[in-house]
């Protein structure tokens, strides 16, 4: 199911998602987009994903290789480097810690009236 999400929120975790997806399976740009859509992130557009992949490559977190395709020219497949695996582990721990804190706050019951300031 796809629902409207804050694009800035998604953008913040996009790199982490890309690292995880590429750790699971070597993929080319459009394939990554399709996989994001399959997991329910249909509102992430190609125009956001391709530059993010490019940035990960520049940062040395993913490497790319050209694989010839039956459908036309060679496709650029991305896979994680050692630095990418490190970044994924660090990012996942950081996200889990942040999500715990945010969830614990957001799951508190909301009183009928906000407590008055003294």
């Amino acid at each position: 199911m796809t629902s409207a999400r804050d694009p800035q929120l998604l953008k913040g975790v996009l790199s982490l998602l890309l690292l995880q997806l590429l750790a699971e399976q070597e993929s080319y740009g459009y394939q990554v987009v399709q996989r994001l859509h399959e997991i329910g992130l249909g509102d992430i557009l190609e125009g956001t994903v391709y530059p993010a992949l490019s940035r990960l490559e520049r940062e040395g977190r993913v490497s790319a290789r050209l694989v010839s395709s039956n459908a036309g020219p060679a496709r650029k497949y991305y896979r994680l480097t050692d630095a990418g695996y490190d970044a994924l582990a660090t990012g996942t721990a950081s996200w889990a810690s942040l999500a715990d804190v945010v969830s614990s706050v957001l799951n508190r019951p909301i009183p009928a009236e906000p407590i008055q300031g003294s």
Binding site: G29, E46, G47, Y50, P51, S54, R58, P73, A74, K76
Partner: protein
């Protein structure tokens, strides 16, 4: 159901790739070519999957995409635009030179209009501050001219305008950041 790619689809894809490429001139050549190829190939894959119209819509406009690629390549730091500076300097100087040439030849035409058989030396001080003195030498209505070039002040103003248009003052901060990064 997979879509079949027509010639029109290919042309629409090429148009987007071309527009993107025009906006990526600040990137290193190899990087620009790699991005062009990758976007083209991904668009073709998307076209077969969802059709060209949806594929192009999902990619977004070339201006935004190029901006994202530039940030991906160089980071969020403000950067100078060498290509804009070079284009401004060359095309602008071409137009300005033509303008000064026209001004000088208008002076010569004026002399001939007053006296079609003019003979002698005629001097015009040129456009104030921007152009050197123009001297026409006429013999029986046939003349030749010397001078009319840019003054040092005109060159200085042009260089300053180029720096402003290309935001070249950012070069200093880019170098500073690079030096800090290398020494870290």
């Amino acid at each position: 159901m997979p879509h079949t790619m027509t010639l029109l689809d290919r042309m629409r894809i090429e148009r987007l790739v071309w527009a993107l490429d025009q906006r990526l001139y600040d990137l290193p050549r190899q990087s620009r070519i790699a991005k062009r190829r990758e976007v083209r190939e991904n668009l073709r894959a998307a076209t077969i999957d969802v059709g060209t119209t949806t594929a192009l819509r999902n990619l977004g406009n070339s201006r935004q995409l190029a901006a994202e690629y530039r940030v991906a390549e160089f980071g969020d730091e403000a950067r100078p635009s060498w290509i804009t500076a070079a284009l401004f300097f060359l095309t602008g100087s071409l137009f300005f030179t033509a303008f000064l040439g026209e001004a000088a030849s208008a002076f010569g035409d004026g002399i001939k209009a007053v006296n079609p058989n003019a003979t002698g030396t005629f001097t015009w001080t040129g456009i104030r501050y921007l152009q050197d003195t123009v001297t026409y030498t006429f013999a029986d209505g046939k003349g030749s001219s010397v001078g009319g070039a840019w003054t040092p002040l005109a060159w200085l103003l042009w260089v300053v305008a180029t720096v402003l248009v290309g935001r070249l003052w950012r070069v200093a901060s880019v170098w500073r950041r690079r030096r800090t990064r290398h020494s870290a």
